[in-house]
Subunit: 112 residues, 2 copies
DNA sequence: GGCTACGCCTCGTAACGCTAGGTGTAAAGA
DNA sequence: TCTTTACACCTAGCGTTACGAGGCGTAGCC
């Protein structure tokens, strides 16, 4: 898979897994890996900055907790985050449909 | 549409339109805009460097010509370019399918 | 004569994902 | 006991990329 393929689509993926309930960062990575069938195996250095960015943007809210002696920061979608997710979904639909259209186009059949 | 959405997918699109026959740079832009229903309206500063990069990589070959007093550089897919296209296609299929899988996943239905 | 479309080019910038490095706890294995 | 692995967080810097802005030149139209 292309190294840059995720660019511009990562927010969508992360918002998407968080739409099914709050998760902490590490769990987001796990969830994405599992759901995608090991295709998306994201580095921590990839995911954490995104979570921070989304929180600053108001699309996520976070809450510190502790489980089994380990600090965790749990993220949940805000109302704005849900709206953002829907918008990103639509954006993805348009994008992928357009790519597929370009890909499917074949040259004119020979008309003898 | 996301500003970065194209990243990592642009080569695929360009190789794809060139698979249906040689085109010069300006025509590539036109073709992509038309095929995508105006969705992909790429800047020249985006496309020309990609064509150069793909040529250096051996995926395209170019030929200068003149039509109506205007210089044109026509690009055509090499054999390596065709192989690259197929590989990129497969890559896109995997990527988009994986994104869709992540998007479609819903929380477990309540089992009362 | 000026504007638009055609047709090519390059430099600089911003944004992004990721590598590499760091901190710390808990559990499992040697 | 010591070390490794998994969990869980963080950040600075790097490389790639698409794109904006600018430049060069021709043809055709108003």
């Amino acid at each position: 898979m292309n190294r840059e393929a995720l660019k511009g689509h990562l927010d969508l993926l992360i918002l998407s897994v968080l739409a099914d309930g709050p998760l902490h960062g590490y769990a987001v990575i796990d969830e994405l890996r599992t759901r995608s069938g090991e295709v998306f195996d994201l580095a921590e250095g990839t995911v954490y900055p995104v979570l921070h960015r989304l929180e600053v943007a108001g699309h996520l809210s976070s809450e510190w907790g502790e489980v089994g002696g380990r600090r965790r920061r749990s993220y949940r979608l805000t109302r704005a985050g849900s709206a953002r997710l829907e918008q990103q979904r639509a954006s993805w639909q348009l994008f992928s449909a357009s790519v597929n259209t370009v890909l499917r186009r074949k040259p004119w059949p020979s008309t003898p």
